[in-house]
């Protein structure tokens, strides 16, 4: 395990983020732009409705028969000359990668963007074993230089502005002339990374879609670093979660279209790379070996629950975070998790335990924006509520890790009082009378009310209840 200095503390991290003016400006600007561009790219509501229904159906049907598709994928990949390994945990996945690299005496690795590798903390792991693992996606390269983790799953360095990046390059890259010109900064990274591609002993990438029918690994990208990482070095290792499989090649175009338009509002990316095996007979290039590592890391637990299984439909477009009022204000790092934003609020508590990360489940106003823009129709707000319920459950069996662990005595008591009062008319009237006549006397500055009144004015109950006013108007009870 990588060293974790202290347990995640969402309240502290989000409070700090809210006080960071430049950070908030960087996110606000980026999210506003992304939302507007995405909306324009899905301008036809009928097409959006039908394409999204298709994407959701493909993903849901895939998950319904996941083992069968995975077994087929494995068989087809092996026929194509791709070796396939399975890992239950990130530790196992790291060990597999290390073993492959050691077998080839590899000391220099270039990496394309992969969220699964972030789950594995693969760079740290390889560095500890004496292997240089260099991120080659420009955004990932920037944050790796600064010792950070991604703050967004598509645009990992979105929290930084050009001035911050210019200073970073000046500090960390030899011979880098200080410039805030984006083209010039990009050219500096190109110069450094082309050498690294040239020298690398192995390349590591993620997988966007793995096609069971053909044994094809699909990679979506704009920079060309993915193709460089997977095709220049003699060994390619691809990492995927068990959910990344799709049954048929025909399933790819609709998902690809939903992905690029939802993520960056592009009709298509610069490159769509379909890898069907290592260097074939007579071929002059391409890796001599291609390895696929299939990782579980808590996914089979999500799969076990009929409703929560929808979490695994995710195609990692990031639209939910781009549209989230909470994410936009606090940025990705405050979640202290691999996956930030609404999808992270589903993934992280299910992986680490709803007891340990219950605070993340509260970081939602349930405004519904994430569910509305999800291109594969994951009912994110409903699932957040479901996980809140699991976290506060009084007991009983469930597939959810840490169920009931965030149950709070005062909160449970409050709800019990609430339901008792509401189910007894006489008690309810007495309570309403007390609230309207005496409510103003309750001191607002003490817990638990202070949690609300610290930042907001205290609600002032009306002098007479709605019931009483309705009675005055002789409005009959329903």
């Amino acid at each position: 395990m990588s060293a974790e200095p202290r347990p995640a503390d969402f309240r502290r991290a989000s409070t700090a983020a809210l006080a960071d003016g430049p950070l908030r400006a960087n996110f606000r600007r980026a999210m506003d732009g992304l939302m507007a561009k995405r909306a324009a790219r899905f301008a036809d509501p009928v097409e959006w409705r039908d394409l999204r229904a298709l994407g959701a159906a493909i993903r849901a049907r895939t998950l319904a028969r996941l083992p069968e598709h995975l077994v087929r994928l494995e068989a087809r990949c092996r026929e194509n000359g791709i070796s396939v390994r399975w890992a239950e945990t990130t530790e196992e996945a790291n060990a597999i990668v290390l073993e492959i690299l050691r077998r080839h005496g590899a000391t220099r690795v270039v990496k394309g963007k992969s969220m699964v590798s972030e789950e594995m903390h693969l760079n740290d792991f390889l560095e500890r074993h004496g292997i240089e693992s260099l991120e080659s996606d420009l955004g990932e390269y920037i944050i790796q230089l600064d010792g950070e983790t991604p703050s967004h799953i598509i645009m990992p360095a979105i929290h930084k502005n050009r001035g911050q990046i210019a200073k970073l390059f000046g500090r960390k890259i030899r011979d880098a002339v200080y410039t805030e010109d984006v083209d010039a900064l990009t050219a500096i990274a190109r110069r450094v990374l082309r050498r690294k591609f040239f020298e690398a002993d192995a390349g590591i990438s993620g997988v966007n879609f793995a096609v069971a029918e053909t044994g094809t690994l699909c990679l979506v990208e704009n920079e060309g670093n993915g193709r460089m990482s997977t095709h220049v070095p003699p060994v390619h290792i691809a990492l995927m979660g068990v959910e990344k499989v799709v049954p048929r090649l025909e399933d790819v175009p609709p998902l690809y279209s939903l992905l690029t338009r939802s993520a960056t509002a592009q009709p298509i990316t610069t490159y769509f790379n379909m890898i069907g095996g290592p260097r074939g007979p007579g071929e002059k290039d391409g890796p001599r070996e291609v390895h696929l590592v299939i990782l579980d890391n808590g996914r089979s637990r999500m799969h076990a629950d009929r409703a929560l299984q929808a979490t695994l439909r995710c195609i990692r477009c990031g639209a939910c975070m781009n549209h989230c009022p909470v994410y936009t204000r606090i940025g990705g790092h405050a979640y202290e998790a691999v996956y930030p934003g609404p999808i992270g609020q589903l993934v992280t508590p299910q992986t680490e335990g709803v007891d340990r990360r219950a605070d993340l489940l509260e970081a939602s106003s349930l405004c519904g924006a994430c569910g509305e823009v999800c291109p594969v129709g994951i009912p994110i707000p409903e699932l957040i509520v479901r996980l809140r319920t699991e976290a506060a459950a009084p007991g009983g069996a469930s597939a959810v890790l840490g169920r009931g662990g965030a149950r709070h005595r005062v909160e449970s008591l409050a709800w019990r009082v609430w339901s008792t009062v509401l189910s007894r008319p006489r008690l309810y009237r007495a309570a309403a009378l007390a609230a309207t006549r005496l409510g103003r006397l309750v001191p607002a500055g003490f817990p638990p009310l202070s949690a609300w009144t610290r930042f907001r004015s205290a609600p002032r109950p009306a002098r007479r209840s709605l019931h009483e006013l309705a009675d005055d108007e002789r409005i009959p009870d329903a």
Partner: protein, 221 residues
């Protein structure tokens, strides 16, 4: 070798929830997107020019002359290419004796790496066709035309027969039956390499080619 992790993962997934959702996925929305044949070239070109691809138009067989004129005008002094194809033969005959040097990619990458990375100004490839609705070229690299020709040199020259532009990716896959014949590497390329990782600002030429030049072969008028 028995793989314990594999068996355990599959067993957990087997025992998981597996309610088959009702109804087959409906692909009608994909069929609706198709661009009519006579509009395909214009649609592809519009979409690709929007992401900075450049176009040279040639009538029928005179495309190697366009490549030569372009290379001379742009100061491209060397072009890597894959010998052995029909197109390569034509390119050779037109560029022979010109100021533009043709560099054959005829040995394994281990022997060609430095040349490709540092010593050529451009790479030339044919294409299998194009995609009209989103823009994009279809490339299936072959032993004659290796995978890195379209990636490593700073300029990618791509020959496109406009008669081979499909309405959409979905249609191309279906019409040509890709599922039964996927090669070791197939790819779509829609423009020069680009990034928006710094402040959402587009910058071209980050790792792959800085320029994508499509030589579009249109039928003789």
């Amino acid at each position: 070798m028995p793989d314990g992790a594999r068996e355990r993962i599959l067993a957990r997934l087997e025992s998981g929830a597996s309610t088959e959702p009702a109804g087959e996925p409906d692909f009608a929305v994909m069929a609706r997107r198709a661009v009519r044949p006579e509009e395909r070239y214009a649609s592809l070109r519009r979409a690709m020019e929007a992401v900075h691809a450049e176009f040279l138009e040639a009538n029928g067989d005179d495309w190697p002359g366009r490549v030569r004129a372009f290379a001379e005008a742009e100061g491209i002094r060397s072009i890597a290419y894959g010998p052995g194809t029909d197109a390569a033969g034509r390119l050779e005959s037109v560029l022979r004796g010109s100021a533009v040097r043709l560099v054959p990619y005829d040995r394994p990458i281990e022997e060609m790496k430095r040349t490709l990375f540092d010593d050529v100004d451009a790479g030339f490839t044919t294409t299998r066709g194009g995609i009209a609705d989103t823009g994009g070229l279809i490339l299936w690299p072959t032993p004659e035309e290796p995978r890195l020709l379209s990636l490593v040199p700073p300029v990618h020259l791509a020959l496109l027969d406009v008669a081979r532009i499909h309405g959409s990716l979905w249609q191309a896959m279906r019409d040509e039956g890709w599922a039964g014949r996927m090669p070791p590497n197939a790819l779509l390329v829609s423009g020069p390499s680009k990034t928006a990782d710094i402040e959402q600002t587009l910058a071209y030429g980050v790792h792959g080619p800085k320029r994508l030049v499509v030589i579009a072969v249109v039928p003789r008028a």
